[in-house]
Assembly symmetry: C2
Homo-oligomer: 152 residues x 2
């Protein structure tokens, strides 16, 4: 299955539509798809974001954010979103998509990637752990690392 980074208006509209489906499925707030497409396009244009698509027509997407690390003059990547449409799950598309995202992040020079995911999302956690993502402080054997959030 082919992957590609979103570059055209049609690509961003596709990614936005997939993201709206994602948010709807998980009961997150749903932005208007046309506004989100424009927003994603601007993020990519401004240089700190990659939007990856899989399939033609696309059946999954990922959004990665980049910035200089707090402790070192190297890039870190944050996997903000990863989604495969429900009827194509369990067919290895997440693996192909995440591999493409990691390859692209490494090509940009990122040396670290992090993400937050739900404790009860066993398939997502299995995917991340297969790629070596670790949920423990100090990696492997320490206490787990928890993700906290607050509206300001």
């Amino acid at each position: 299955m082919e992957t590609r980074t979103a570059t055209t208006k049609a690509d961003f509209e596709t990614a936005a539509r997939l993201q709206v489906d994602f948010n709807t499925e998980y009961n997150y707030p749903v932005p208007p798809a046309d506004e989100l497409a424009g927003h994603l396009s601007r993020l990519v244009e401004n240089g700190d974001t990659t939007v990856m698509l899989i399939g033609e027509p696309a059946v999954g997407h990922g959004i990665t954010r980049f910035r200089v690390q707090t402790m070192a003059d190297e890039l870190e990547a944050y996997l903000a979103e990863l989604y495969v449409v429900p009827d194509r799950r369990g067919q290895g598309l997440g693996t192909v998509l995440l591999q493409a995202i990691i390859d692209e992040a490494k090509a940009r020079g990122a040396t670290n990637m992090d993400l937050g995911t739900s404790e009860d999302d066993k398939s997502a956690r299995a995917l991340y752990e297969k790629f070596g993502f670790d949920n423990h402080e100090g990696r492997g054997s320490g206490p787990r690392s928890l993700f906290y959030e607050k509206e300001l």
Copy 2:
């Protein structure tokens, strides 16, 4: 206890020294303090970072990173670091420091703040939860949100 944002070379040297103490205490990799001071100064100059200090001489610090949100044209804040020296803990300094960090983030226009912390760090978690930080997907009653990380 007074708080202030780091602006001078001496401020960044102080913050770097505190950060080195932090990393040493928690067995994280320890960058050279002079390199870290320069790096933090550049991050602040480039506009996506705040370094907050508490006390004179400083006995704690926080580092906050900002970027445009993935889903909306608003800023999000990531609390990358928060530290109070061991012999001044339990005196409410973390509360004063975190309040100053949140106030400054709101003043910059951030509408969301997130962070990762260790499951076994009860005092840090109690502090964050006192301020309304939530570790659950969908807030309050959903499954917990876990923080995963991987070297690339």
